[in-house]
Symmetry: C2
Subunit: 429 residues, 2 copies
């Protein structure tokens, strides 16, 4: 077959700050997926896109081209409206766990097609796999049946959605071309649009533990994704949320499940509860239920009931004891005062090094490993009291975890006020 374009011409167009035509984009994404455009050609193009940007039209077309390389799912046979949530990834971000059953409690189907963690942010599937018996892989039919019967499902994304994205993401990961807002936005949105959700709420993290370090970048990513979703007929809204400090008091797989169950039992850390409710309200509104207040369902056990059915439907035992790491070590407060900073990235890296995360895709994670925090910014602490407890099955990892935490906290003289902001910074709709 004669190809419609030459890869070098397409690369040169973007390199020289031109706009790629619709036909060029359709061709290069498809030809890359077919193997006609080589990896080294796509990486040069990705670098040119990262450095020279893409217009709104180019991003939308690039996203559509990635969707066109695979299958599309369809939830229209369900009796319930669908609403999905996507987080750009943070430290201690277990929000999907209480959120999905909470929203499902109100008659909305919540399909959470999730991934595993890589690097310092955990993966939702890794967390749920800490529950004995729970399995992430479902067929499309099993997923649809569970959405109809339980309302909430968290499962492994199939390989059929936007295969171009899978290939391109692996390439970007090894070529220094991850940090491009057009490429990040199209990667996320191609899968969400192909998945067929009716509504989508994006949780765009900003701060040291997030991919986006600055509010401006987070805002641009949120705006780009909201536009992409809206243009594709998905009711889409984004919340910019704080990731300068970890969410809640735990980072690690079983540790985060435990904290999520506390939230579903009506307790749990205030920031986790606040963000769960804020996202639930957005999802319910986007699914056509703007007047529902989800908060009572955390207190009265309805969300917990849905959680138990969701876990059981995928083989998990919601009553089984969660795995516990074999070794723990304390990190003590170095001084009296008020904790004004607890750095999300440092805690995330420490949890990762303790065994909660993986450095390569084929590694296993430890279910019990992670960091448990005893104080959050704003708390008064005393020298020698425990600030954190580190958990691992492999105690030789403590040293490198503590190295990561060496500069993680700032303690100011008592009487100083910690600048503790709200977890939800801004809404982009």
């Amino acid at each position: 077959m004669t190809e419609r374009f030459d890869a070098v011409d397409v690369i040169r167009t973007k390199r020289d700050r031109g706009e790629l035509s619709d036909d060029q984009i359709d061709w290069v994404v498809d030809a890359y997926t077919r193997g006609v455009v080589a990896e080294e050609q796509m990486s040069a193009l990705a670098m040119a896109i990262l450095l020279n940007g893409m217009s709104r039209r180019e991003i939308a077309r690039w996203t559509a081209a990635m969707i066109a390389t695979g299958e599309r799912m369809d939830f229209s046979s369900l009796s319930r409206p669908t609403a999905d949530k996507h987080s750009t990834g943070g430290v201690g971000d277990k929000i999907t766990l209480p959120l999905a059953p909470l929203v499902a409690t109100f008659g909305v189907a919540v399909p959470q097609l999730s991934g595993r963690g890589l690097g310092h942010t955990g993966g939702t599937l890794d967390k749920l796999e800490a529950i004995p018996g729970w399995r992430a892989a479902l067929s499309n039919e099993e997923m649809l049946a569970q959405l109809e019967e339980v309302g909430a499902v968290v499962c492994q994304a199939g390989s059929g959605l936007a295969p171009a994205d899978r290939k391109l993401y692996a390439l970007r990961d090894v070529t220094g071309t991850v940090e491009s807002i057009p490429l990040i936005a199209s990667s996320i949105m191609s899968k969400k649009i192909a998945e067929g959700t009716g509504a989508l709420v994006l949780d765009v993290k900003v701060g040291s533990g997030a991919f986006m370090k600055s509010l401006d970048d987070a805002r641009e990513l949120a705006r780009t994704m909201v536009d992409l979703g809206t243009d594709a007929g998905v009711r889409t809204v984004a919340l910019l949320t704080d990731m300068s400090t970890p969410l809640g008091l735990t980072a690690g797989n079983a540790l985060e499940v435990r904290e999520s169950v506390e939230v579903l039992a009506g307790g749990g850390p205030p920031d986790v509860v606040a963000l769960t409710l804020a996202l639930a309200r957005e999802m319910l509104a986007a699914a056509g239920k703007p007047d529902v207040d989800p908060a009572p369902a955390l207190a009265d056990g309805r969300a917990m009931d849905t959680w138990r059915r969701m876990i059981a439907a995928q083989g998990g035992d919601p009553d089984a004891p969660l795995p516990v790491a074999r070794h723990t070590e304390q990190v003590l407060a170095p001084a009296d005062g008020v904790l004004v900073r607890l750095d999300a990235l440092a805690v995330g890296v420490a949890a990762w090094r303790l065994g909660a995360g993986r450095a390569r895709r084929d590694e296993d994670v430890q279910a019990g490993a992670g960091v448990e925090m005893h104080a959050k910014p704003g708390a008064v602490v005393r020298a020698g009291e425990p600030l954190m407890t580190l958990h691992t099955d492999t105690p030789e990892r403590f040293e490198r975890a503590k190295d990561a935490l060496a500069d993680a906290v700032t303690i100011a003289p008592e009487g100083d006020r910690a600048a503790v902001g709200p977890v939800v910074i801004e809404r982009v709709g």
Copy 2:
């Protein structure tokens, strides 16, 4: 072996407009040559270099790192000083053919390690291979013996010099990363410095038929290469020369040999003679012979004698008839007037399409194919008179060659003056 760096960190440094350290450069060039840095990683880095540039220190180190991947040659055993010439490539650029024997006539060794043509500019080896019996491949020993005995040698560059450059050039060719001044300069100079020449004269072409279309870019490339050579202990100078119109009256392999022999016989087109003498003077001066006037040696047959010995030493018969194409076709002047423009790129593409050049490295070229010009800018022409003769063995190529020439000439009313500038525009030393 544990690697000293991570390729993604090196790519990110340049992507984010940082300077690469000496250690990073040494590592990434060596690791790429060893296959540890993958093609898709190097192409992303090459694109970042193209878009974000390199400092003088980075370029020098990159060049040194490429040299360090291979062998270095040594001409110090010769009784003569060495001077080399490199052209960045143009249409009808046969200057090496008269120049090498001319300079050698004055006791300077001229090692011309050359390549074959790709695209619209011809290759010196392709031209000399039009001479029956001539062979391009010499061993190092044969080359040194010929330099000592004849003084001039034009031969194929061995694969041992800067193998990193060979690999990187092939990658840049397919990834839209050729047009980077730091990468062009380091590619050329790594081979010239590794070759071990004592003096080097660079012919940097500027104009439509050249790689550098603007004088500013050509000047920057020349300055970069002169600095690289000087810093490496090679006496280096550059001439910026005009490539808006072809050099001489022929573009094509045997056609250019014929014209070169005319120059060696004391005739030939004025621009070819002028550039040959200008480059010869620079080479002689750089080789320690600033007071020699090379012009008489073209008139009195001394340069021709050296040419004949140079060709014969490599198996060629300087008296054999040159190949002639089986078919010719005329291109006629469309109007009366003065020829004010004859575009180098158009003529180069036409010659290429007639069979003088190749589109892929494994193609053969036609010895007799090419374009013979009957008028150059400044000449008065009459409608219907031949402007050019096209030569090929494969007459089905005439149409596409004429397509390339459709907009190649501008004829102004007689009395208008053509802006014909000197062939040498500027000296960078």
